[in-house]
Amino acid sequence: MTVKDTVPESSDKSEKKGAADAYVPSARRVERERFKRARARRATAVAAGSTLVTAVALFLLVVNSPGWPRTRETFFSAHYAREALPKVLEGLLLNLRLLLVCGAAVLVLGLLIAIARTLRGPVFFPLRALATAYTDFFRGLPLIICLLMVVFGVPALRLQGVTTDPVLLGGTALVLTYSAYVAEVFRAGIESVHPSQRAAARSLGLTGRQTLRFVILPQAVRRVVPPLLNDLVSLQKDTGLVSIAGAVDAVYAAQIVAGKSFNYTPYVLAGLIFVALTIPMTRFTDWITARMDRRRAQGGIV
């Protein structure tokens, strides 16, 4: 990168005619830019060199370790990757279906609980207390225990007309736990809206419900988009836990192949697939956040 000065530093006396107002950088400036370029080139070269040395060192460390041949065969076997891929992808369908359905349910339920917790007025006390108890309980309860209770406990009741399908029950357990997390996120957003906003809305003649719908919630939700997406990424990885009841998800499909063959490659494969799924989600989160920051900086939308 060179910096273009619009004002020459020293006027050159030996200017040719015709090129009277052509800009000719001074010798000092040319020298300075040349020096800067050289420094930049040198910095790049040093960085590349040290990266290369580090990479080579790590590579040699791994490849020369005594267990490497076995590790390669156990964790990076092309044969088992090929064998496991269709099964892992089939399992991934379950993860994605759960993510879509549970994600939507969690957002709706979480918002309702957050609204219940922030309602004003003494008449709503029982509702507020219930919502508080719910979030306290389900945020504290380990997810795996919640899953076990719902997935194996509900069918044990032998209720007529209640499903015993492990996927539905597992999804319910996920929604119970995650809606408690998400409710707290929404509540933080609602409480971060300045009280003057509510006062202003009410003084304009909006009812309590209208104030919430048109003034408070739009600001609250926009503020908590990044933590919400964080919870969704977390949910995406936890969908696999429903496999405790026998449903086969991506990680579990990998475990089935690994258990049969004593080879760990399917796990590596499933892990990489999950990472590949999370990356677009993370970029999307970053993009949303950046867009919101830009808008806020412009002072356009509060």
Partner: protein
């Protein structure tokens, strides 16, 4: 004209060289030495049963000198172990482990039990046990990752279902094609389910047989597949409202066998194998089987 400080360059270059040298040294020096070959004594030649030749106590390069470390999962299920206590000597696999130890010249007090989850028993790297027994079936595919002793038990798979479920009336493999089945992950029961029965409804796969039993009780699956001794134990002691529907013939006429798992290329494989062979030859295994495992004669074979 700015002049670069020559000393700074010199120092930088020195730093870079030093870093490179350090990294190279790390590669040469940090690589952990494989001590399974060098530190421990070389494996003995395959000899006969222990106590003789090179297989006696003190001659084996065990995990802990003078002791035999045996791995199994927790919980340890009946009828293979009793009361989740492998050290009791009660239960078929506990008895087998102590019999093998005795053949190798280790007394009851020289055996250390180590909890090894199924997934860890075949993980590469240093093993924490001398041998592991956890109802692990021998297969050629698995031999690529671990060493096996010869089989110490010929296992058959069986189907159990609640007495009042339609699956309980099955008399052939074809009758099981339309029921919801379950089995444990990593088990050969699951292989039988997928390769022999090939059911229409997607089978349920459970982390532990405990979950499979619960799902069976709840009616979330119609039937589960386990090995025959486990099936007898479940139906007689744990889920009394279930019955054994039938057992399967050995696939391809070759009996499936449980084997002791050792580290790949373990120095003990030859001696442990010799011990298992001699236990089979002199009828000890058959005697222990009779003592701890129910007779499998009355379960009909599903064709």
């Amino acid at each position: 004209m700015p002049v670069a400080n020559p000393h700074r360059y010199a120092r930088r270059r020195g730093l870079l060289a030093a870093t490179a040298a350090l990294l190279c040294a790390a590669v040469a020096g940090c690589a952990p030495q494989d001590d399974s070959d060098s530190a421990k004594s070389p494996g003995p030649a395959p000899g006969g049963p222990a106590g003789k030749g090179s297989c006696g106590k003190g001659k084996l390069a065990t995990e802990t000198a003078g002791k035999l470390t045996v791995g199994t999962d927790k919980p340890a299920y009946a009828p293979w172990f009793q009361d989740d206590d492998p050290a009791s000597g009660k239960g078929f696999e506990s008895a087998v482990a102590y019999a093998v130890a005795e053949r190798l010249g280790y007394g009851r007090s020289d055996v250390i039990w180590q909890t090894v989850p199924f997934q860890n028993s075949f993980a590469p790297g240093e093993k924490k046990f001398d041998f592991d027994l956890n109802q692990i079936s021998i297969s050629d595919e698995r031999r690529r990752a671990v060493d096996f002793s010869p089989g110490y038990y010929d296992v058959r798979q069986a189907v159990i279902a609640l007495k009042d479920s339609p699956a309980a009336k099955a008399t052939s493999v074809a009758d099981l094609k339309r029921v919801k089945l379950g089995a444990q992950v990593g088990s050969t029961s699951l292989d039988v389910l997928n390769d022999v029965i090939k059911p229409g409804p997607r089978p349920a796969v459970f982390q532990k047989n405990d979950f499979a039993k619960t799902a069976l009780k709840n009616g979330q699956v119609d039937a589960i597949i386990v090995d025959l001794p486990t099936a007898f134990y479940i139906t007689s002691a744990e889920v009394k409202e279930a019955k054994i529907v039938g057992q399967f013939d050995a696939e391809g006429g070759k009996a499936e066998q449980f084997g002791l798992v050792l580290d790949k290329g373990s120095a003990l494989t030859a001696c442990v194998s010799g011990a298992v062979d001699s236990l089979r030859k002199d009828g000890t295994l058959a005697r222990l089987e009779k003592k701890w495992l129910s007779e499998a004669a009355d379960a009909p074979v599903l064709k």
